[in-house]
């Protein structure tokens, strides 16, 4: 049996994900991830094939670290996001790349704006998802964000979820 996924469904899924983030509904966002999910943002001078086990990434979360990231962001002591910034995740160029027995690979382009304290920063890049259906509902098994930037300049940090 091959995995079922239409472009409509893929688009609706990543658009909904973006909306959860911009609404700061972090629990709903976390619910989109499978139990053994990973969320990675490699450093900008790395090749797309680089692995977090032997290369320095900005973010290399397994499910545990991802949950902790969300827990942290809900605290007032997550100083970089207190008071919370305003964000807008624009997602486009959604394409289904590959469909296997158990999963689909979907790619998209993103531009995310973060405004706080009189400054608006932009994060630009592409996303690669591995989507699965552990119990029927679509879930993220892998989310990779590849920044199309030469570093985090001037953004200085990835304190939000991309």
């Amino acid at each position: 049996m091959t995995f079922r996924l239409t472009r409509d469904e893929a688009e609706e899924f990543v658009f909904a994900e973006a909306e959860f983030l911009d609404d700061w509904d972090l629990e709903a966002w976390l619910d989109l991830f499978a139990d053994d999910a990973v969320y990675n943002v490699p450093s900008t001078d790395l090749d797309k094939s680089a692995k977090a086990a032997d290369n320095l990434f900005y973010i290399a979360d397994d499910r545990t670290r991802l949950e902790e990231r969300v827990t942290r962001l809900k605290k007032k002591t997550a100083h970089a996001e207190f008071p919370r910034s305003k964000t807008r995740h624009l997602v486009s160029n959604v394409r289904i790349r590959k469909i296997d027995d158990e999963s689909a690979t979907v790619t998209a382009a993103f531009a995310t704006f973060r405004s706080k304290d009189g400054v608006t920063d932009t994060y630009i890049g592409s996303t690669r998802y591995k989507l699965v259906r552990p119990n029927g509902a679509l879930k993220i098994a892998e989310k990779w964000c590849f920044l199309d930037m030469e570093g985090l300049r001037p953004q200085g940090r990835i304190s939000i979820l991309l």
Partner: protein
């Protein structure tokens, strides 16, 4: 008021206070003076030997506003040039890194060997007979280049001190970093290149600030407590040392894991046994004292003015320069033992990105703190001074006092006061 007072640093020995003028963080004239009197005169970090692992390897990097081409010749010798063509100035090498015996300028096609010599001159017969041989067409080397235990430094002052004299008492700390493995050390792939909208000196202070962890990094400490076995029962305890010439170090014990070689329960019993072997090898090779320091002590090392090597839950090598009084560019690398076993390398890098990285659970909050300090300096006209007095007068300042910052500011004040117009009261 008694004590040594410069224009920007005020010490009151009766009140036991050490104050720094906030003008030092906002005045463009100060940034200019810093380039003239500090960055153009001090030894500055260029790169680690492991980044040019093989003969003919090269990399390009910005150091104190200059473009530097750092290369190894075919004979393995390390060289560094100003990356500008002697003909009209174009950047000769436009790649970040690679391997090359020669570099061709894209403009008129002059070709330089990695020994810096002009090798090929298109239309050579239209030049004077000895144009090439005279050396006037060669790449310009940096005035001074030297290394300490594999850390390469440049100095743009031809009359500056030797690197050994400059580093002085800080040298043994750099050497200690090279001893974690008998195979040597290496920079891991992946550079964290970011910026902070604050004055660069705030990052010098922040990188050796043992006082801020509990409040700034509350969520990081929560995280370590949440993941079971993330910490051992080792209280934070240790010392700050003024190493002279503006260099300083904190050396202290801490409850977090070190893949060389402080075990935490989260890593499991199998790793525990392996870490005991790592420790035993250190004892055998270096003796019990050095082995204990490498395994169980953390060090936040500041090499004046802007090199930080923090050997904590991972090792970061970090350097940064101001673009403006309220903006700096930061480059940070992870240093690790060569041929480190897979699990150790992995935990080390996870430790790094959780705490030291701008996408982690701590550094974004440091960035926030520094940017909020910079914002606070908008009130300069009424609120003029920073306080750096913690632990003043103690014979043995603690790691969470501010003696290390006073060491930095004392050197900074003495150098900046040599700039024209900067010997005056602020």
């Amino acid at each position: 008021m008694s004590g040594t007072n410069g224009a920007y640093v005020r010490i009151d020995e009766d009140l036991k206070t050490f104050k720094v003028s906030r003008r030092a963080f906002v005045d463009p004239a100060v940034t200019d003076a810093e380039y003239r009197e500090i960055f153009d005169k001090c030894w500055l970090y260029l790169g680690h030997e492991s980044e040019l692992d093989q003969p003919n390897d090269f990399l390009t990097r910005t150091v104190a506003r200059r473009n530097i081409l750092f290369a190894r010749q075919a004979d393995g010798e390390f060289r560094a040039y100003l990356n500008t063509c002697p003909h009209r100035g174009a950047s000769v090498c436009r790649e970040r890194s690679g391997s090359a015996k020669s570099f061709q300028c894209m403009y008129h096609g002059w070709v330089f060997g990695n020994d810096g010599r002009l090798k090929h001159l298109p239309g050579e017969d239209s030049y004077g007979e000895n144009f090439r041989e005279s050396g006037g067409g060669d790449l310009t080397p940096v005035p001074k280049l030297d290394n300490c235990a594999g850390f390469w430094f440049v100095c743009f002052d031809p009359d500056g001190p030797s690197l050994d004299d400059y580093l002085g008492a800080a040298m043994p700390y750099i050497e200690l970093l090279s001893l974690h493995s008998k195979h040597g050390m290496e920079i891991v792939g992946g550079t964290q290149e970011y910026a902070i909208r604050s004055n660069w000196k705030l990052l010098t202070e922040n990188s050796v600030d043992g006082y801020h962890a509990e409040s700034t990094h509350a969520t990081y400490l929560d995280y370590l407590m949440n993941v079971s076995g993330g910490l051992i029962k080792q209280p934070l305890v240790g010392r700050a040392f003024d190493l002279g010439n503006g260099h300083a170090v904190l050396e202290y014990k801490a409850p977090w894991g070190r893949t060389i070689a402080q075990w935490i329960p989260m890593w499991g019993e199998e790793v525990k046994a392996q870490l005991e072997d790592v420790k035993a090898e250190l004892v055998e090779r270096l003796g019990p004292d050095k082995a204990d320091r490498i395994a169980h002590y953390n060090r936040n090392l500041l090499i004046f003015p802007n090199l930080i090597v923090n050997d904590i839950m991972a090792i970061t090598v970090r350097t940064y320069y101001p673009d403006a009084p309220d903006f700096m560019n930061v480059n940070a690398w992870a240093l690790a033992p060569r041929r480190e076993v897979d699990w150790a390398r992995q935990y080390r890098l996870y430790n790094f990105l959780e705490f030291l990285g701008p996408g982690g659970f701590a550094t974004p909050d440091d960035v926030e703190a520094m940017e909020k300090c910079q914002m606070g300096y908008r009130n300069l006209k009424e609120a003029r001074w920073n306080d750096i007095s913690k632990g003043i007068g103690k014979a043995e300042p603690s790691f969470d006092d501010e003696a290390q910052m006073r060491a930095f500011w004392t050197e900074w004040q003495s150098r900046i006061s040599r700039a024209d117009g900067f010997g005056l009261a602020a």
